[in-house]
Amino acid sequence: MQTNEPQDLEQIRKTLKEMIVKDLSLEDIKPEDISDDEILFGEGLGLDSLDAVEIVVLLQRNFGLEVKDMNKGKEIFYSIDTLANYVYENTKGRT
């Protein structure tokens, strides 16, 4: 399955996992421990509203992206997959 996906998307997932583990100071969790479809907030990875603000900053500073709509934010921040798709869709074509 993954072979048909653009290489960039896989790379984005890896970068996001590394960023989340490092910048949100997730202890005892390695980037590779986070599965692509794991729910990031609440029962999943256990992130909360304070982490959401930090993810907003990470997306802004690392990818130049702005998630301005709360409802869209909930969908985008659902999992690494949804987050990576958002980053991919909004950065492709950039030079």
């Binding site: 959401a52 907003v56 802004q60």
Partner: protein, 297 residues
């Protein structure tokens, strides 16, 4: 970061603002102040929600006062707020100016010149921001004001908010995420963002001690500052004589999380520090805090 919508009665309408503007032009500052005593008496007698929300603060600030003294304090609070609004018109209309004493300027100037980032100005419903903004011009930074969308257009227009000539720009908090994005962007560009820290207005808040009892204060400013890694400068202003205001920017908080497990505790401590600073303020200027909300639990 959900927001609960609370119904808050709007006061102030177009004819009302016109009345005070005209009175100011015709009778001058003292004459317009004089009319307030009648108007505020009306609110004291007939606006129960304004009186009860003010009483929540007054009864905790003036614990030993009897009921009549407390009601008189509320009356003075209404009059003081009216005077502050009239002072704003006075400045906007170009009828005159107020002297301004800016405390803590040198330290803030040096803090901002050492960094490319801006800062959050954490303020409260005190003093007169129209006067304060004029004083902050000295810092040579653009100032953004984070606020709920002003549904009452009469207030917005009367106070010259967000017009081409206005000195401040508005960042809407209708949606927390969009507010946070805009605030962080403004800070990264080296600007100042003014945030009200005393009314939660349905946004996430921390429970801290204020005037001896537990109260709720919003923590959005601190979560954004911790994420953006910028300082929070507490800005409180007060009228200290008939033609003079002061703005105090001497207190600075540098929000950095100590560890992931203690994020919420860190936030609570920063909010408590802010509440302590505000408590010092209301000790000194008890009738210039226009909170008009029951923030106690």
């Amino acid at each position: 970061m959900t927001k609960q919508i609370d119904f808050v009665k709007k006061r102030g309408n177009k004819p009302g603002f016109w009345f005070f503007k005209t009175s100011l032009k015709v009778f001058g500052l003292s004459g317009a102040y004089g009319l307030l005593y009648i108007v505020c008496l009306y609110y004291l007698l007939f606006d129960r929600s304004a009186v009860s929300s003010s009483m929540a603060y007054i009864k905790r600030r003036f614990k030993t006062y009897n009921i009549f003294q407390k009601i008189y304090c509320i009356y003075q609070l209404f009059i003081n707020q009216g005077k502050h609004l009239i002072d704003r018109f006075y400045i906007i209309s170009g009828l005159g100016e107020f002297d301004m004493e800016l405390q803590g300027y040198d330290r803030i100037r040096s803090l901002l010149s050492d960094s490319k980032k801006g800062a959050i100005l954490l303020t409260a419903h005190v003093g007169n921001w129209q006067v304060t903004m004029t004083a902050l011009k000295r810092l040579d930074k653009s100032v953004y004001l984070l606020m709920s969308p002003e549904e009452n257009k009469a207030v917005k227009n009367a106070l010259d908010i967000d017009s081409d000539q206005g000195q401040v720009r508005i960042i809407s908090t209708d949606d927390f995420l969009s507010g946070a994005v805009e605030v962080i962007k403004a800070i990264d560009e080296g600007n100042l963002v003014s945030v009200m820290g005393d009314r939660s207005e349905g946004y996430d808040s921390s429970e801290v001690y204020f005037l001896g009892e537990k109260a709720q204060f919003p923590y959005g400013a601190f979560s954004i500052a911790a994420a953006a890694q910028c300082p929070v400068i507490v800005l409180l202003s007060a009228k200290i004589s008939p033609k003079k205001y002061m703005a105090d920017i001497t207190r600075i908080i540098f929000p950095r999380y100590s560890s992931r497990d203690k994020k919420h505790e860190d936030i609570r401590q920063w909010v408590q520090e802010y509440a302590g600073i505000l408590e010092d303020y209301v000790t000194k200027y008890p009738l210039q805090w226009f909170i008009f909300r029951d923030i106690w639990i």
